[in-house]
C-alpha cells in the first residue's frame, strides 16, 4: 500500500481550501517547507503570512485575523503550536472563542532524530483541557487532507495534529470527514481497540496477529479526541467488555485518559493503554523509537492479551 506523510495531507487540504474558500488565510513560523504550506503560499501570497520564528505573535495575529471574518490556519511543529504558546491560545483563542485552526506537524516520537526537545507527547492533553477546543489527530494522508478541509467549516477553535514520517495511506481518498465521529474499521467481539493518529495502522495490523491466537478484535479509529464519540465507544465496549487504547502520546492526558474517564463514569471496564509512560523521547529513527517506547502492533497484541484475562 502507498505510504505518504500526514503533513502532506495537511498541505494538500490547505491547497484545496485556497481554491474553494477565500476567507481561509495561513500563517507560518518559518517552517513552510516542513508543514507543506508552500503551495498555498505561492498561490495566495496575499493570504499567507510568514511571521518568522515568533509563535506567540503568530497565535495572536491569527486570533486578530478572525475579527473581520478570516479563517486562519497556523502552521508550525506541534511543540511550538502548543506548549510554547499555551497562554496565547488559552486567552486569545480558546477563551475568546476565536475561529482559529492550529495545525501542528511533527507530533510525537516519529519526528525522529531531532530528539525530545521537538517530540511533543503532551499536546493532546494540553489542548483537550481548553474549553471550546476541538482536538483532531487523523491517521493517514487522506484523512488528514479531509480533516483539514472539514475544519474550515467548523466555527470555533480547532487543534489539528499530524506528523512527519511516511505512513500507510489506507483510508479512502476524498472521504467525508465528520468531526467527533469515530470510524469503525474492523468488527470484532472479544476486545475493543481504540486508536488515534499513527497508531491506527498498527492497530489494524494487530488484528491478524490476534486472529491467529483466536481473538476477535474490534478496531475503531478515534480521529477526534474532543469531542469524543461517546456513543460509538460505549456501544463497542458493551459488546466486547474490554479495551485497549493506542496513541503516540503520553498516557497522561491522551486518548486513553479520555476513554478511561468516560468508562469510569458510564461503564467501568478493564482497560490497557498503549502510550508513552511518563517519559520524554530521544533521538533515533522513528520506527526504532516506536519500538523502544512500546508503540507497535506487538505492544497492542500484548496489551490485548493482558486486558482480556481481566474481563
Amino acid at each position: 500500500m502507498e505510504r505518504k506523510d500526514t503533513r502532506s495531507g495537511f498541505g494538500a487540504g490547505l491547497t484545496e481550501l485556497g481554491k474553494t474558500n477565500k476567507n481561509v488565510v495561513a500563517l507560518c513560523a518559518d517552517l513552510t517547507g516542513s508543514l507543506k504550506m508552500g503551495d498555498f503560499a505561492n498561490n495566495h501570497p496575499d493570504r499567507f503570512f510568514q511571521v518568522g520564528i515568533a509563535e506567540a505573535n503568530m497565535i495572536g495575529m491569527a486570533a486578530g485575523l478572525t475579527v473581520g471574518g478570516k479563517i486562519p490556519f497556523t502552521g508550525t511543529f506541534a511543540n511550538f503550536s502548543t506548549a510554547r504558546v499555551y497562554d496565547q491560545i488559552r486567552q486569545s483563542v480558546s477563551y475568546s472563542g476565536k475561529n482559529v485552526k492550529i495545525c501542528a506537524s511533527h507530533a510525537g516520537l516519529t519526528l525522529g532524530e531531532d530528539g525530545a526537545t521537538h517530540q511533543t507527547l503532551e499536546d493532546i492533553g494540553m489542548m483537550k483541557m481548553l474549553p471550546n477546543m476541538v482536538v483532531i489527530n487523523p491517521c493517514d494522508f487522506n484523512q488528514t487532507k479531509a480533516a483539514t478541509i472539514a475544519i474550515a467549516d467548523h466555527k470555533g477553535p480547532v487543534y489539528l495534529r499530524f506528523g512527519r514520517p511516511k505512513v500507510t495511506n489506507f483510508t479512502p481518498e476524498n472521504q467525508k470527514f465528520e468531526i467527533g465521529k469515530a470510524v469503525p474499521l474492523v468488527k470484532g467481539i472479544d476486545v475493543s481497540i481504540f486508536a488515534t493518529g499513527h497508531l491506527v495502522w498498527p492497530a489494524l495490523e494487530s488484528v491478524k496477529l490476534l486472529k491467529e491466537e483466536g481473538i476477535s478484535a474490534e478496531v475503531i479509529n478515534i480521529h477526534t479526541i474532543k469531542p469524543l464519540d461517546k456513543k460509538a465507544i460505549l456501544e463497542s465496549v458493551k459488546k466486547t467488555k474490554c479495551v485497549v487504547t493506542a496513541e503516540e502520546h503520553q498516557m497522561n492526558g491522551g486518548l486513553g485518559d479520555s476513554i478511561a474517564q468516560l468508562l469510569c463514569r458510564e461503564l467501568p471496564t478493564p482497560l490497557e493503554m498503549v502510550a508513552v509512560d511518563d517519559s520524554f523521547g530521544e533521538s533515533g529513527p522513528p520506527m526504532k523509537l516506536m519500538e523502544k517506547y512500546g508503540l507497535t502492533k506487538n505492544n497492542i497484541v500484548s496489551s490485548v492479551k493482558k486486558v482480556i484475562i481481566r474481563k
Binding site: V25, D46, R47, F49, V51, G52, A54, A56, N57, M58, I59, G60, M61, A62, A63, G64, L65, T66, V67, G68, G69, K70, P72, D87, Q88, R90, Q91, S92, Y95, S96, G97, K98
Partner: protein
C-alpha cells in the same frame, strides 16, 4: 476646540464611575484606569469612527483593543457612556453572573469587546491580525490599541513590533500608557526599559511622544497627528505620558493604587474631586 469642555465633563463622570466600581467590590485597578481616562474618552467620543451597534467583525469601523486588560474599569465606563450597553450594568463589575469581568472578556457577550485580555503582552499581535484582515477586506479603517509601559516587558510585544514594521502594517495606532509605574514599583526599578522611543524607532515605527497625556486637548491633538500619518507604510506608536491615579489627589505620585480599592472615606474624597456630570450609574 469647542468639544473640549464636553469631553472633559464626560471624563469627570468616567473618573467617578471608575472609583465607584472599584470601591463597590473592594477590588480592581483604579490607578491606571484614572490615568487613561482622557485617552479613552478622546478615542471613543471624538477620534474613532465606530458603531455602538456592536458587530464582532467591525468591518468598516475603527477598532480598539485594550491589551492591559486590568484597567477594565475605564474601558467599561467609556463603553457604557458611549452607548454600547446600559450604564446601569456598571454596577455589576466583578460580581458573579456579570458580563463585566475583572479583566475584559468576550465570553459573556459584552458589547464593545472583541478579545479577552488580562494576561499581558498579547494585544498588539491581535491588533496586527485585525489590521491584516482590514487590508484583505479593503477596509480603510484603523486599529487602535492601548498597552501598559510595564507590559512591554513581555517578549511577545517585540515579536509583534518587529513584524509590524517589516510588513508595513500602517493601519495601526498603538498607544503606550507611559506612567512609569507597575505593581512592584517604578518602571526603572522593576526593569528599566531604557529609551522606549529609541527602541520603537530602531524597530522601524513612527513614534509620537505626548508629555501631557491627561490634558484633553493634547491627547486629541496627538491622536489627530498620528491619524494623519497612517497609510504611509509605517506602524505608529504614541508614548502617552500619563499620571497613574490622575484626578484623585491621594492616588497620584505613587504606584500604591495600581490595584487597590479606596475605602468609604477615600471614595468620598475622590468623588468630591470629580463632580457628577452625566448622572452616576
Amino acid at each position: 476646540m469647542t468639544d473640549i469642555p464636553k469631553l472633559e465633563s464626560i471624563t469627570n463622570q468616567v473618573r467617578r464611575d471608575i472609583v465607584r466600581m472599584v470601591h463597590a467590590n473592594n477590588s480592581g485597578h483604579p490607578g491606571g484606569s484614572l490615568g487613561c481616562a482622557e485617552f479613552l474618552v478622546a478615542l471613543y467620543f471624538k477620534t474613532m469612527n465606530h458603531n455602538k451597534d456592536f458587530s464582532m467583525d467591525g468591518v468598516g469601523e475603527d477598532i480598539f483593543y485594550l491589551s492591559n486588560g486590568h484597567i477594565s474599569p475605564v474601558w467599561y465606563s467609556v463603553l457604557a457612556r458611549s452607548g454600547y450597553f446600559p450604564v446601569s450594568e456598571l454596577s455589576t463589575f466583578r460580581k458573579i453572573d456579570s458580563r463585566l469581568q475583572g479583566h475584559p472578556a468576550t465570553h459573556e457577550g459584552l458589547e464593545g469587546i472583541r478579545m479577552a485580555s488580562g494576561s499581558l503582552g498579547q494585544g498588539l499581535s491581535v491588533a496586527i491580525g485585525t489590521c491584516l484582515a482590514k487590508k484583505l477586506n479593503k477596509d480603510n479603517s484603523i486599529v487602535y490599541t492601548l498597552h501598559g509601559d510595564g507590559e512591554l516587558q513581555e517578549g511577545q510585544n517585540w515579536e509583534a513590533i518587529m513584524y509590524a514594521s517589516a510588513n508595513k502594517v500602517d493601519n495601526i495606532i498603538a498607544t503606550v500608557d507611559y506612567n512609569k509605574k507597575q505593581i512592584d514599583g517604578s518602571l526603572d526599578n522593576v526593569l528599566n526599559m531604557g529609551d522606549l522611543k529609541a527602541k520603537f524607532e530602531s524597530f522601524g515605527w513612527m513614534v509620537f511622544e505626548e508629555e501631557k497625556g491627561n490634558d484633553m486637548e493634547s491627547v486629541l491633538n496627538v491622536l489627530n497627528s498620528a491619524k494623519g500619518e497612517t497609510k504611509k507604510e509605517k506602524p505608529i506608536v504614541i508614548l502617552l505620558h500619563t499620571e497613574m491615579g490622575n484626578g484623585v489627589d491621594f492616588m497620584m505620585g505613587t504606584h500604591k493604587w495600581h490595584g487597590s480599592a479606596p475605602n468609604d472615606e477615600q471614595l468620598e474624597i475622590a468623588l468630591n474631586q470629580n463632580i457628577e456630570t452625566l448622572g452616576d450609574y
